[in-house]
């Protein structure tokens, strides 16, 4: 991000960067940056809090009016209140079941429709969904991922999308569906949602199983995608 600022500024356009990783910004030394103490993925802080977001945005934009520079790196003083867990939050119930590959795949196929009501509540509440990279319905995403879990290596249903790429997008869509359904009520933190998804749902178990299976395959592209782009570093299990 800081490098983009450097290039644009060299071309004559003033920039100010939000910084999430201060050491990187200190190394790159962009013209102007506002470091924010928020989790990765939330450069403007809490969702659903326009006054807070405005304060972040304005603090950054005001750096454009400074006469002294380069380099300016300032710190935003407030913490993200939505980073705190919501003690009243309860995730939608999901059935427990076996841990074998077939059991996990079957649970995934049945769990997705069970969460439809929760997901519809989420959409009604927020007016949007981040599902859509695969271009498949969420049921078809689930079936596609389940087939991979079963070791079928299904062909890609979309022209121009290789099977491993399709798998990545289907996994992304499944995650989006669950995380939206999981947040249908209350204001859970990202960590609460992650704990539920990775530890309690069939989808989390399926993606863990898929990662382990793909890492053992001979397909280098599949290994790359499964190893790096499916399970967050903080959620990787030592056995997987």
């Amino acid at each position: 991000m800081s490098a983009l600022g450097h290039y644009l500024e060299e071309e004559g356009i003033a920039t100010v960067a939000i910084s999430l990783i201060r050491p990187q910004t200190e190394n790159t030394r962009p013209p102007r940056a506002l470091w924010v103490p928020f989790e990765l993925g939330r450069p403007f802080g809490p969702p659903g809090d326009p006054p807070f977001q405005r304060r972040v945005l304005l603090a950054a934009l005001r750096l454009l009016e400074r006469a002294s520079g380069p380099v300016i790196i300032e710190d935003f003083p407030e913490e993200d209140p939505r980073a705190q867990p919501d003690p009243a939050w309860r995730p939608p119930p999901v059935p427990s079941g076996g841990a074998s590959v077939e059991a996990v795949a079957a649970r995934l196929d049945t769990e997705i429709p069970l969460l439809r009501g929760a997901h519809e509540s989420w959409r009604a509440r927020h007016g949007r969904t981040a599902i859509g990279l695969s271009g498949l319905s969420i049921a078809d995403c689930g079936h596609y991922v389940a087939d991979w879990v079963r070791g079928k290596a299904p062909p890609s249903p979309r022209d121009g999308f290789s099977p491993p790429l399709m798998l990545r997008f289907a996994v992304d869509d499944v995650k989006a569906y669950y995380l939206e359904a999981g947040a249908s009520a209350g204001k859970p933190s990202s960590r609460q949602l992650g704990d539920w998804f990775w530890n309690e749902t069939a989808a989390g178990a399926a993606i863990h199983a898929l990662r382990a299976a793909c890492l053992a395959s001979d397909d280098e592209r599949l290994k790359l995608i499964a190893g790096n782009f499916m399970v967050p570093a903080a959620r990787v299990r030592s056995a997987g």
């Binding site: 644009l8 356009i13 960067a17 103490p37 450069p43 969702p47 945005l57 980073a83 782009f229 903080a234």
Partner: protein, 153 residues
């Protein structure tokens, strides 16, 4: 709140020690008061308008986000999974603060909001983005943009 100390040690170390370009120049562009600036968002979140071509890997190009894009039509196709997406899922302003910019423009705090915004894929080596970033500067100038807010994830 998440600082590097809250991340798994290996991830934190990788992020902190990520090789950054060693620029020889320190460009610095000044301009009019904020109330006269035209502001665009340039994100590195791998944002893509629904139906557009998602980022597939460490692509060096960028995607165009028209100013009339609706919140339900903006997706993240970033390859990294090591950042929170639930904030963006709930409220696009967490990553793409277009509603906040429009409010500031309506109040006269900034001059105006650009007609078009843009997103790169932040996992790409910045040096590979240079040619496209310089080309993007021309587009921004044609839209009379004189201030860019850079939004990472």
């Amino acid at each position: 709140m998440t600082r590097l100390t809250d991340l798994p040690p290996a991830q934190a170390q990788r992020l902190a020690e990520l090789e950054c370009p060693d620029f020889k120049t320190r460009p610095w562009v000044t301009g009019p008061a904020l109330s006269r600036r035209r502001v665009a968002i340039v994100s590195s979140a791998g944002l893509v308008v629904r139906g557009d071509n998602p980022f597939r890997g460490r692509d060096s190009d960028y995607r165009v986000i028209p100013g009339d894009t609706k919140p339900e039509d903006l997706l993240i196709s970033h390859i990294s999974i090591n950042f929170d997406r639930t904030g963006f899922q709930e409220d696009w302003n967490v990553v793409f603060p277009l509603d906040r910019l429009r409010e500031l423009a309506a109040e006269g705090v900034i001059g105006s909001v650009a007609a078009t915004h843009y997103s790169f894929m932040g996992a790409t080596d910045p040096v590979q983005m240079e040619r496209n970033a310089r080309e993007l500067a021309g587009r921004l100038k044609r839209d009379q943009v004189d201030a860019v807010i850079l939004s990472p994830v």
